[in-house]
């Protein structure tokens, strides 16, 4: 990757979350928490229905980063807090911005996020996440 500058924004990556996606993630990721699979369990926990795994949302963000970097192995570190639930039918939008570049190691530090629009409001399933990406 050439010519990366502080302030650059990643191309956003969006997807509409479906039950099938979340079921596939539960299988592939190994997190079988029923709050992500059974509406009755989710309602008992105070949600309107099942929610996506935080790791589904973070995996989508990682895909956005890997696509920008051109190689998933370039992602040296990644962190995020899961701040808002993602429900079926929500459209999640992953993005990020380069906030620093270490010239010696050629590693970019990025602020990352995932947003969605619900009832006219912007929700932040991930806000102020951080990633370090090797540029060379």
């Amino acid at each position: 990757m050439s010519e990366v500058s502080v302030g650059d924004e990643l191309p956003t990556r969006r997807r509409i979350v479906t039950r099938e996606d979340v079921r596939d993630y539960a299988e592939a990721g190994g997190d079988q928490n029923p709050v992500h699979q059974d509406d009755d369990v989710a309602r008992a926990a105070g949600f309107p229905g099942i929610l996506a795994h935080g790791m589904f949302t973070m995996g989508h963000l990682a895909d956005c980063l890997s696509t920008w970097a051109g190689d998933p192995g370039a992602v040296a570190s990644l962190s995020a807090s899961f701040r808002a639930p993602v429900f079926m039918g929500d459209e999640i939008v992953a993005g990020g911005r380069v906030v620093a570049i270490d010239q010696d190691s050629n590693v970019a530090t990025l602020e990352t996020w995932v947003t969605l629009e619900r009832e006219g409001r912007t929700e932040w399933p991930i806000k102020r996440g951080e990633a370090r990406v090797r540029l060379a």
Binding site: D21, D24, Y25, E27, A28, G29, G30, D31, N33, V35, V41, A45, G46, H53, G54, M55, F56, M58, G59, H60, A62, D63, L65, S66, T67, D71, P72, G73, V75, A76, S77, L78, S79, A80, S81, F82
Partner: protein, 129 residues
């Protein structure tokens, strides 16, 4: 939760970077080759049932949600390699009526090198939440 368990380590388990599992995982997110950075969580979840179900921990798994996640990748995982998964209870806190359990996991290569360190924080939601 029983905060006196902080520092407890759990039996190591092997983790094969299984090509079929990798394909299934990658398909959920995209078409890129290589190992997605969050694939490490597959290894974490091999150990988590044992930790979260530890009878001494007193964690109510029915109230658990994943709160936050961090990875430091020292190197890429290699398709087909077998790593050792080593987990410890890094912290247990209570805040605002919720419990927070942080599990730190190292993935070790055959030579003992740390390929990746992952930190997962699980939230045990308060009874009234």
């Amino acid at each position: 939760m029983n905060a006196s368990l902080v520092g407890k380590t759990y039996p190591e388990v092997p983790f094969l970077v299984d090509p079929d599992r990798l394909v299934a995982f990658s398909r959920v997110f995209g078409q890129l080759s290589g190992v997605p950075p969050t694939f490490v969580t597959v290894a974490e979840f091999l150990v988590f049932p044992q930790i979260m179900g530890d009878p001494d921990l007193h964690l109510d798994v029915r109230r658990v949600l994943h709160g936050s996640q961090e990875y430091v990748h020292h190197r890429s995982l290699i398709e087909g390699e077998t790593l050792t998964v080593r987990s410890r209870l890094a912290s247990i806190r209570t805040k605002g009526g919720n419990g927070f359990l942080t599990i730190e996991t190292d993935l070790l290569g055959v030579g003992g090198d740390v390929a990746c360190t992952a930190r997962s924080t699980m939230i045990e939601r308060g009874e009234s939440a």
